[in-house]
Subunit: 446 residues, 2 copies
């Protein structure tokens, strides 16, 4: 099971700038209520908690078919529809496209340069396209879907539909309608599951199967950690304790930036997945905490200076890996150089772990708080634990802040302007507003 | 030339939460002094400004040799030694390893999983290793160098040295000494050029040449923008104006997070390069601004909610691309669906630009400031402009804040603990300190 160490967040260890136990004690009632809301599934959107028990026979079956038939797998989706799948492939099949088939591309933008690059590489006849949008009308995703559909039709004709899999709402939306009309293979995102909480639905699981990862393992990990963190007693529940600490640091100490720093290249994308989850779930009503994506040791040479000596506005979330698997020993070469020879004989994993511990300690000595999540190793089972753990921490933190962690009302205005500019009916006034804004802006350019 | 539009930062456009012209006027003397410091090269570390005039014949020659002889190019380096090169390859040769040779790997960590993956792919006999460390003793870089040296020696014997190129200080350090002993090819990082300001030195330029990018173009862009931003009059100098705006928002408005959001997948890594530059340069003495890496349109579905409705602690830096090159039209398919058909006939570049403008406007309407850097297109010349422009903005902002933008004193403590744990002579007490800290921590784990 993943574990949490909070020593470096507490005043007993880091001094007066640290949290006191009694601050958490004072929050007992609120904490207990937050857990109860989760346990009792008080919100429809808590449906993600029950994903470990879903029937995944369709996912398995379609995954097997794609693995057998396709040399390329192109996922079209954006936000949660892309970040979850991408964090799975980067963690569980590093450098996938240089080593395995089907080669996987995740197109989560409308950048024509990227799409041209993908077209240069893939053979459309040997490609399966997975369109992922719960609403069925996400502009970026449907734009790329339309392009792919026409291009595939040119080379495949009648067989076009066989090369598409739609992952969308079980009943509603344009994409579901297209599934019906064209007889496409499809998978369903359960109604209560919001995009950024969807990685454990077919959104993430189909890709897992396509790259040879057993999605049952992911779900098993998710179930185990979920059942571990339903305790109302904060000192026994790592998710609740983490939520309490991050909430209190934001609320009472002005530490409103939470930096996630896994010590593993493969979890770089997991950091980005977490950032969407944390940012969209908590940032509303003028409140919220800003997530920051990071990777160790790399960002010790990029961000650490700011964390050590910059404004006191951050909490570090370290993600320590206990077992990196097959190791590499640093050899006894260049022994006449003191700047190198001290490393000889050590394992690479010793060095990366020493750096993680050193960074924790250096921050603690400077009175800068951190918490550490300890992950036994990076595999499907523990990725499931990570996803579910951080989802639950996010929901609990949202309840502590007192906001709805499942909506994202702030993104509508930008969408409406885009609709206006693209000529969607009913949004003509939005187009005019954009045009008016341009005139105001010209004199400020240099 | 790249341009700056500051309309969405000013109160005339975004209302009372915006900056007033007079706030910039009040800063005139300080601004002018900051530019003078730069123009007069008052700091030795401003040497990066003169990199456009360096002699690059060695870089070109070694680049040609590697392109001819090698199927794999492995760069070992961390921080500025990796982020600059990586932003060049991602911007100028997207999906490089699936399309071109030599295949390029940048190993900027000590994660054994990553190194094993690289070994699975490369053929060491056909590999050139570029070791990049100015000091010659960066722990991560020399650890991987030692491993590679021994492995190459096993397959290449006497010829090992011919497969290495060292990029380091011209005179000092362990790596320079090894160059002398083993007769390695080498390139020099000029003494005054600090790691995070080194992308326009051989650190970035060798990789550019290896992937077929003419480094003269990069340097020409850098020179042109440098000469464009030496004006002391803020209203005529985009770098100075940008520095002033970000400084004032940080100082007077509590907007201490600067989000860089290029609307191009290829500039994702450029965002990360900027983040190191901004974080390490400015974060010290309890001061500084936190950079945030982002990409449009993608992060509209990840971060935008937080920027629109979260705490008012951010300024957005949009990077708009005017010409994406070869375009793609969204076809007239699925015309019976209103959720899709409005997109038909538009170019993909129209959609991405509309989204960029929409996001700017939505934020401006909510009183949330942004500035926009307008880039004609993504090529070597304009990458040179981007690098130099942001380097100068960073230095100017550092001078306004009143800190030294070239040092990073905060990272030493963590390094010393690592030395202790790795058994380096003279750091035994640091090891003891780590061990003592472990005992304190155990009771806080769950």
């Amino acid at each position: 099971m993943l574990r949490l160490n909070i020593a470096n967040a507490m005043e007993e260890v880091i001094g007066e700038k640290g949290l006191a136990e009694k601050e958490i004690e004072a929050l007992r009632d609120v904490l207990s209520k937050a857990v109860l809301q989760v346990k009792q599934r008080n919100w429809e959107e808590l449906a993600f908690l029950d994903l470990p028990e879903q029937d995944i026979s369709d996912v398995k079956e379609i995954g097997v078919k794609i693995k057998k038939d396709s040399e390329y797998f192109l996922l079209l989706g954006i936000g949660g529809s892309a970040l979850g799948p991408r964090s799975i492939i980067e963690a569980l099949s590093p450098f996938h496209n240089l080593k395995k088939t089907p080669k996987v591309f995740i197109y989560d933008n409308v950048d024509p340069i990227t799409l041209h690059s993908i077209f240069d590489i893939v053979d459309l006849k040997k490609t399966t396209v997975n369109v992922v949008t719960k609403s069925g009308s996400t502009a970026e995703t449907v734009a790329s879907f339309m392009i792919l559909w026409e291009m595939m039709e040119k080379v495949l004709g009648e067989a076009t539909g066989e090369h598409f899999v739609a992952t969308t709402d079980p009943h509603k939306g344009n994409l579901r309608e297209i599934v019906r009309q064209k007889g496409l293979l499809s998978l369903s995102i359960p109604p209560g599951v919001v995009g950024r909480y969807s990685v454990l639905s077919p959104v993430g699981l189909l890709l897992a199967e396509v790259i040879g990862v057993d999605s049952r393992e992911i779900l098993k990990g998710a179930a185990d950690i979920r059942d571990r963190v339903m305790e109302e007693e904060p000192w026994k529940n790592p998710a609740l304790l983490m939520a309490a600490i991050l909430y209190l640091y934001g609320q009472n100490y002005g530490r409103t930036i939470d930096v996630l720093m896994p010590y593993a290249d493969g979890l770089r994308r997991f950091s980005e997945w977490f950032c969407q989850l944390w940012a969209e779930s908590l940032g509303k009503l003028g409140l919220g905490l800003t997530p920051y994506p990071s990777v160790g040791t790399t960002d010790q040479h990029s961000q650490l200076q700011l964390w050590m000596e910059g404004p006191e506005d951050k909490v570090l979330l370290f993600l320590r890996i206990e077992d990196y698997g097959e190791d590499i020993k640093i050899p006894f070469v260049f022994q006449d150089m003191e700047g190198l020879s001290y490393l000889s004989g050590h394992l690479l994993s010793e060095l990366i772990k020493a750096e993680e511990e050193s960074t924790e300690l250096a921050l603690a000595k400077a009175g800068r708080p951190s918490v550490t999540v300890i992950l036994p190793r990076i595999d499907a089972y523990y990725m499931g634990q990570l996803f579910m753990f951080f989802e639950i921490v996010t929901v609990l933190t949202g309840f502590l802040i007192g906001i709805n962690p499942f909506n994202q009302p702030g993104v509508e205005e930008g969408k409406n302007f885009t609709y206006g500019m693209m000529g969607k009916k009913g949004f003509e006034h939005k187009r005019q507003e954009v045009e008016a804004s341009r005139e105001r802006k010209t004199c400020w350019e240099l």
